[in-house]
Amino acid sequence: MTERTILIFSLVFFMLFPTTALGDINPWAESYRLEALSQYETATKSIDAVIERKPQHEFAYLRRGWLNYLAGKHNTSIRDYQKAMDLSPKSLEARLGIMLPLIAQQRWREVNSHANKVLEVAPWNYYAHVRLMIAEEGERKWDTLLKHATAVNQRYPSDATVLLYLARANAWQNNDKAARNAYQQVLERSPSHIEALQYLSQ
């Protein structure tokens, strides 16, 4: 068989069975590739095909929820994470995930509710604590945030984000010395942190 004959047979095969050819593209790999290119909305379409085939695919909803969050489609992201939670009510990842679009929509009470449900079963889950602190800051609960950030800082002493919330809570409570101390520690971990530099230069 000549090369020319093989080429003709290949073309005829792909013309007759085009879906087989496209179906070979791994939708997961495609979604990761497009995510890396920041094409989040197109990446969700790869996952749509998976969900069409397997409507109970929990991970597909988690993945699409994340991509929709990155695409700024927060309501759709919330729906995807909610579906993942419905499919797997004990999933901590779905609860941690749904907090992201809720934070984007500043729905602090709902963030608070999901974070506390995670902390009921995983008391020192880092992400739940950080997202809860974001909600406490959004609701301007400075006293609660101060106590909370102090407790989390004891468990995660090297973390700059926790120290940042500790610094902000102290600043809003007019505890200037404690705020400066916390911002100083932020700079030890992140030397060019703009907010810490600005506060300490006052």
């Binding site: 489609k73 927060h74 309501n75 759709t76 984007a104 929509q105 500043q106 729905r107 602090w108 009470r109 709902e110 509710s113 506390n116 609960k141 400075w142 006293d143 609660t144 600043a171 809003w172 007019n174």
Partner: protein, 326 residues
Amino acid sequence: MRNVVTLLLLFLAQNTCADDWYWTGSAQTLFKSYNISTELDSLCGIAASFSADYLERSGFSLGYSLNHTEYKPHFDTGIVEIDERTLYLGAHSNHHPNSLPGVLTLQLGAYLGKDSIRSKSVTTTNTSPGPGPGGQTSSTRRFISTDDNYEVVNPVISYSNYRKTFYADLGYAFSHYASDDNNTDDLDVQQWTPTLGFAFNRGYDWLQLRVYWISLSNSNRVAGKKSTSALETKWIHWYNQNKPSYLHSTQISVLIGERRYAVDSDSTSLFNIPELQTAAFSIGGTWVLAEQTNLLALGGYERYENPSVDDKFNAIYMFAYLSHQW
């Protein structure tokens, strides 16, 4: 009714978690003194309200207020005092449509109330029978009580973006006043209140503009004035970390134009004295007494006209509102 309440409680128990409900209780008081008025003297008011919100999704509220208005004592006839009792019921639900980068809120308020009006009247009777100069008369002063009942419905549709830097709403209110007194006509009032609000200075300041378009039905209560319009401007400034102790925000409000029988959906209050409000100014602040306890104190000045008796007067008032969230 009992079945409805039972079903509602069952629904709440099954579909919601107790931690997801946010309860707020509040109490308020108002003292107003009328100056250079030929009729009105002062007003004292108290009110209490209670509201429950399910996360950021929906909520309802219930309030009750009692205002006592004193009239000038030097009249032999006319109104002596009015006791106004108002029950407020409200509900709202928040929606997050995909097509909007913010929250759409549908709100419905209803007011049911009664003004109990106590008036003086003088009855003159002939004590000695027969005509002529020898006849004697005597005057008997007596008090009459009449009720003025009112119902108000106040739907509002509002939108706020997620960053809370823009707000717009459209409010409508329909009020119906009906008196027991046959000499006082019923009155229907329709009100439209478009509102715009903007945040500036990185969210530390807020400017809100609200227009009041009010049209009134034919009635001997309104002295020929069948429509009024006014613009209310409110500026709120929130303090940053370097705030004065406990002070959370200060606010100034100015009203220009004319307003009568207005419904204020922000403070859930009714301005239902028949006088025409021609200007208002208020200044105040909010103090955070504890993380969940706030105190709002306002002082204000208002100008009124009563064209039917050519009375122009003003009022100064103090208002305090204490709220606590659980």
